[in-house]
């Protein structure tokens, strides 16, 4: 067991493509950390640099106190679960799990004991003599995990291990991985593009975009205090709403009307002209179904609802609006970064299931403005972030370094 330290890791491929740009992450001993981001953000490359399957262009990789930059994968003592499992099809399940032990030259009775322990943990006992080709997806997944846990590895690395499973199994295996990690207490780095996995599994989550670390924080911190537009848009489903906003005093002017902002937030954003306001769907409510006591804490506005999706416990209402060109450009870029399509600018509002709002209605919507974030439309930086509860945000902690890294990323893209 060991900590993993990445110091200013850079990966430039042979063709000049910068996959990872100056990323520094410290994974504490026993910590479960998630690398998450849209495709092409360098999360898998980073993981493969930890395990040694990719060379490190510059920077230091430490496992424990040992610098491992130039060590071969087999000398790093890490266990990895691949996205497609990479089981050895010519070996039985037993031999698949025993493979690392045999390579290490362990004694026969020791191998047998460890393999049976691992198979008992993963409930693979009745499959030990079968070949991987005859197993279901979930069983193969468990064999791949068995091959990892059978060794006394310093850390586990997972490369999108659940993306090949169907939705139900994915949920079960997710819980299983979390339980296993807690029980073994082993340092774990887990790559995924699925934010549910990121939110539920990780002690801390590192959000990456184009090879740049955007924010490294606990799931709650990421959700409540995103460091910039990208993180805000990436974490949460349905995603955070982004609206053009102008602040004067404690009043924010939104396309639907004016709402009041708490004093301390308003202080941070005075005299900055046009901003982007970010509000999560659940921070809205149908004013008609609310207790009057709560409703007074925020502001309300009236808007015409375009589409309503009623789900029983809640309903999503869609309210289109027009965004000024400065904001629209930034939002389109954001959609591109998030692997999405530029859709119409609209507000997604989560309402209580009891709400009777129907399509075409003009509804009175309450907004919890205390939860509102305001972003700089130029840089995407969150101006109202609570720095004490936002983990590490390289863009704010070390703006110069981050600017340099961003330049590096941009140069390679051209």
């Amino acid at each position: 067991m060991a900590s993993i330290t990445m110091k200013n890791i850079v990966k430039k491929y042979g063709d000049g493509f910068p996959a990872v740009n100056d990323v520094s992450i410290e994974v504490a001993d026993g910590e479960f950390i998630i690398l998450v981001g849209p495709s092409g953000c360098g999360k898998s490359t980073l993981l493969r640099m930890i395990v040694g399957l990719e060379d490190i262009t510059s920077g230091d990789m430490l496992i424990g106190d040992r610098k491992v930059n130039d060590l071969a994968p087999r000398d790093r003592n890490l266990a990895m679960v691949f996205q497609n499992y990479a089981l050895y099809p010519h070996l039985t399940v037993y031999e698949n799990i025993a493979f690392p032990l045999r390579l290490a030259g362990a004694k026969e009775d020791e191998i047998d004991k460890k393999v049976r322990d691992a198979s008992a943990t993963l409930e693979l006992d009745e499959h030990l003599e079968r070949k991987p080709g005859n197993l279901s997806g979930g069983q193969r997944q468990r064999v791949a995990m068995g091959r990892a846990i059978v060794r006394d590895a310093d850390a586990f690395l997972f490369d999108e291990p659940l993306s090949n499973l169907d939705a139900k199994l994915r949920g079960q295996m997710r819980t299983e991985i979390a339980r296993l990690q807690k029980r073994l207490g082993i340092t774990t780095v887990y790559v995924t593009h699925d934010q549910t996995e990121a939110m539920t599994l990780g002690d801390r989550v590192a959000v990456l975009k184009r090879g740049l670390l955007q924010q490294l924080a606990s799931p709650r911190e990421l959700y409540e205090n995103p460091g910039n537009l990208f993180v805000a848009g990436f974490i949460g489903s349905p995603p955070m709403n982004f609206l053009p906003a102008e602040v004067s005093g404690t009043t924010v002017k939104l396309p639907f009307g004016e709402v009041e902002l708490p004093q301390e937030k308003a202080d941070k954003v005075q005299d900055r002209g046009l901003l982007i306001a970010g509000i999560r769907p659940e921070h809205f409510e149908d004013a008609n179904v609310m207790d009057s006591g709560i409703a007074t804490a925020g502001s309300t506005f009236r808007a015409t609802v375009d589409v309503v999706e009623w789900l029983g416990n809640q309903a999503f209402a869609y309210i289109p609006f027009e965004a000024p060109p400065e904001v629209r450009k930034q939002l389109e870029q954001l959609e591109k970064d998030l692997d999405g399509d530029s859709l119409r600018t609209q507000l997604v509002v989560s309402l209580d299931g009891a709400s009777k709002v129907a399509e075409g209605d003009e509804a009175e919507i309450w907004i919890n403005s205390a939860k509102m974030h305001l972003f700089d439309p130029e840089t995407g930086e969150n101006l109202t972030v609570d720095r004490d509860h936002a983990g590490e945000i390289p863009g704010l902690d070390n703006p110069q370094d981050q600017a340099r890294a961003e330049k590096m990323a941009a140069e390679g893209q051209e």
């Binding site: 266990a79 691949f82 070949k131 080709g133």
Partner: protein, 279 residues
């Protein structure tokens, strides 16, 4: 309609079987006829009561010292050529499939060009060279041309197989603690086994059936392989070749190849890689 298709398939199959197996049946039947019944003409398809020779032709073929030497030569030369060719081809194909190096395309095209070279055009030069360096009429003198003609095909076949094997297999092995060599030997080669055996069969066929090199690069029974040796089976009367004896020799020389193909065929299990990765 279904019945019609079925009858069609059966008829077609029979036709193809007859076409392919009739010569084989003919040569087997011929090998059981006595020499006399063959020379007397119109011996019929099956041996007649009077013309039936029993195992006589076979025993005389096997008692022939020259023929026994030829079988020994053929088996030895073909096996060595196959083994060396497969080992070299496996290593070369792995490098071609996995490494990026300058001249990779060149290696592949050159290999193909060599395979397309007409065998006959090389016989003259090889004869001269082999004599001057002293490997004329030796095993090695045949093994070298056999290898150079079968390697290209073996490399192409095998590199296609290696390319099919996902990179993750080796990477998983390396993370599990294997050296590159161990990953290759314990994971990649077993997975490419069907390809290895395909290459082995192709090489063995070529070496076993070759006549041109066998007859031109040998002069005595110290290296002469079966196909060449059969042509020296003239018997006492050069105008009256011992057809039934030749037939027996041909049958005997076919048996090893049938055995080897049957043995290797078992190893060529299709779909061995299924289940390695998500299928």
């Amino acid at each position: 309609m279904k019945l019609k298709t079925r009858i069609g398939v059966i008829l077609g199959g029979l036709l193809i079987l007859t076409w392919c197996l009739l010569p084989v049946a003919w040569i087997i039947s011929l090998s059981f006829k006595s020499q006399k019944s063959v020379t007397e003409g119109s011996p019929g398809f099956l041996p007649t009561e009077a013309g039936f020779a029993g195992w006589e032709n076979y025993t005389s073929v096997l008692e022939n010292e020259q023929f026994r030497r030829a079988i020994f030569n053929s088996i030895g030369i073909s096996l060595i050529a196959t083994l060396l060719s497969v080992i070299l081809a496996t290593l070369a194909a792995y490098a071609i499939a996995r490494l990026e190096f300058k001249g990779k395309k060149f290696v592949l095209t050159t290999a193909l060009v060599i395979a397309m070279f007409p065998v006959v055009s090389l016989v003259g030069p090889l004869f001269d060279v082999w004599r001057s360096i002293g490997i004329y009429d030796t095993w090695i003198g045949l093994i070298i041309p056999y290898m150079s003609f079968t390697l290209p095909l073996a490399i192409w076949t095998l590199s296609a197989f290696f390319r099919e094997i996902p990179w993750e297999m080796e990477q998983a092995a390396q993370v599990d603690g294997a050296t590159s060599w161990q990953a290759f030997r314990k994971v990649i080669v077993p997975l490419a086994a069907p390809g290895v055996f395909t290459a082995a069969i192709l090489t063995f066929f070529f070496a076993w059936n070759d006549f041109v090199f066998g007859i031109s690069l040998t002069s005595t029974e110290s290296a002469r392989p079966i196909p060449a040796a059969l042509s020296f089976f003239v018997g006492a009367d050069p105008f009256n070749r011992p057809a039934s004896l030749l037939a027996a020799g041909a049958v005997v020389s076919t048996i090893p190849i049938v055995i080897i193909v049957l043995l290797f065929q078992r190893k060529i299990v299709a779909g061995l890689t299924s289940g390695a990765v998500k299928g």
